[in-house]
């Protein structure tokens, strides 16, 4: 198992949390993740993280559908990509085996 260690992309705690939430609920707004993360994600920084994760191919995003007369900018919705789900799965297995007492 440890032979493959280097080939598994590292996930930061924030990235892992985001993927975990997205896998659980399918599609979420950035602000929704901040609210459900209980202080682990910050509203000012979450989109920087999400943008980087999108560049790494972990997730995809789209603008919300809305009526043309709605006020303000459209918000963005995020959903995990297959690659992100695989990386998270690998990361979780690794964490469970390597870190004693790791609870999902």
């Amino acid at each position: 198992m440890l032979d493959n260690f280097e080939s598994i992309p590292r996930l930061s705690a924030k990235e892992a949390l985001i993927l975990q939430m997205l896998i659980a609920s399918g599609e979420m707004y950035g602000l929704q993740m901040v609210e459900e993360s209980e202080g682990n994600l910050k509203r000012g920084t979450v989109y920087v993280t999400l943008n980087r994760m999108e560049d790494k191919g972990y997730l995809s995003s789209r603008q919300e559908d809305r009526r043309s007369e709605a006020i303000g900018l459209p918000r963005r919705l995020y959903r995990p990509k297959a690659h992100g789900v695989r990386v998270y799965g690998a990361w979780e297995r690794l964490a469970t085996e390597l870190i004693p007492g790791f609870v999902k």
Binding site: L31, T45, Y47, V48, I71, G72, R76
Partner: protein, 198 residues
């Protein structure tokens, strides 16, 4: 949010129909086409002073109608919290008593709803000097979108103080993201992360 917005718009358009044609004309030209009083004066063939006078009376009349319609003062006033950013914010509501701020040469009907411009609708332009359109769309626009969403939601509940707080917090988050998006910002962010600040 949309319930509030729809209700708000409907109330405004009902109130507008009750104004005299002269009053409705200046209100519509000012707020819907965002023209300056001298532009309007040229269009209507009257002096700019007359335009401003008419606008003053029209706003007073509009306010009385709106009050009768049950639009509370605090609901309208909360859209007049002074902007926390140095960028200009053209967004007078029909309730505003201050002299008409001139529009900035922007094309008319630029925004689908000039009646109520939420905070941050101009700040996005600033970052395009430093960052790509893509970064703006992925990182900065969502922050502004959240800010506007929460701001309008707070106004809908009549929570003026909360809308003000949302605005300040939104701008703080925005500038934080602008800093974080740089390479140095990333390094500082990592270091702060080590100490669980951030």
């Amino acid at each position: 949010m949309s319930d509030y917005t729809d209700h708000f718009k409907e109330t405004i358009s009902t109130a507008l129909r009750e104004l005299s044609p002269e009053h409705r004309e200046v209100i519509e030209l000012t707020y819907f086409s965002e023209q300056t009083s001298s532009d309007i004066a040229a269009v209507l063939g009257i002096s700019p002073q007359t335009v401003r006078m008419r606008l003053f009376h029209a706003r007073r009349r509009l306010r009385r109608i709106l009050e009768q319609e049950g639009v509370t003062r605090s609901m309208l006033e909360s859209s007049e919290i002074p902007p926390a950013n140095p960028l200009p914010e053209p967004g007078p509501t029909p309730q505003e008593e201050s002299p008409l701020s001139d529009s900035q040469g922007s094309p008319p009907h630029r925004s689908p709803s000039p009646l109520h411009k939420p905070p941050g609708h101009q700040i996005g332009r600033f970052v395009t000097f430093f960052y790509s359109e893509r970064t703006k769309a992925r990182v900065f626009d969502p922050i502004i979108a959240d800010l506007q969403h929460e701001y309008i939601e707070a106004l809908g509940k009549g929570e003026k103080w909360k809308a003000g707080w949302v605005r300040v917090r939104g701008y703080w988050g925005f500038w934080k993201a602008v800093g974080l998006q740089t390479v140095i910002g990333q390094i500082v962010g990592r270091i702060l992360g080590l100490f669980k600040i951030n």
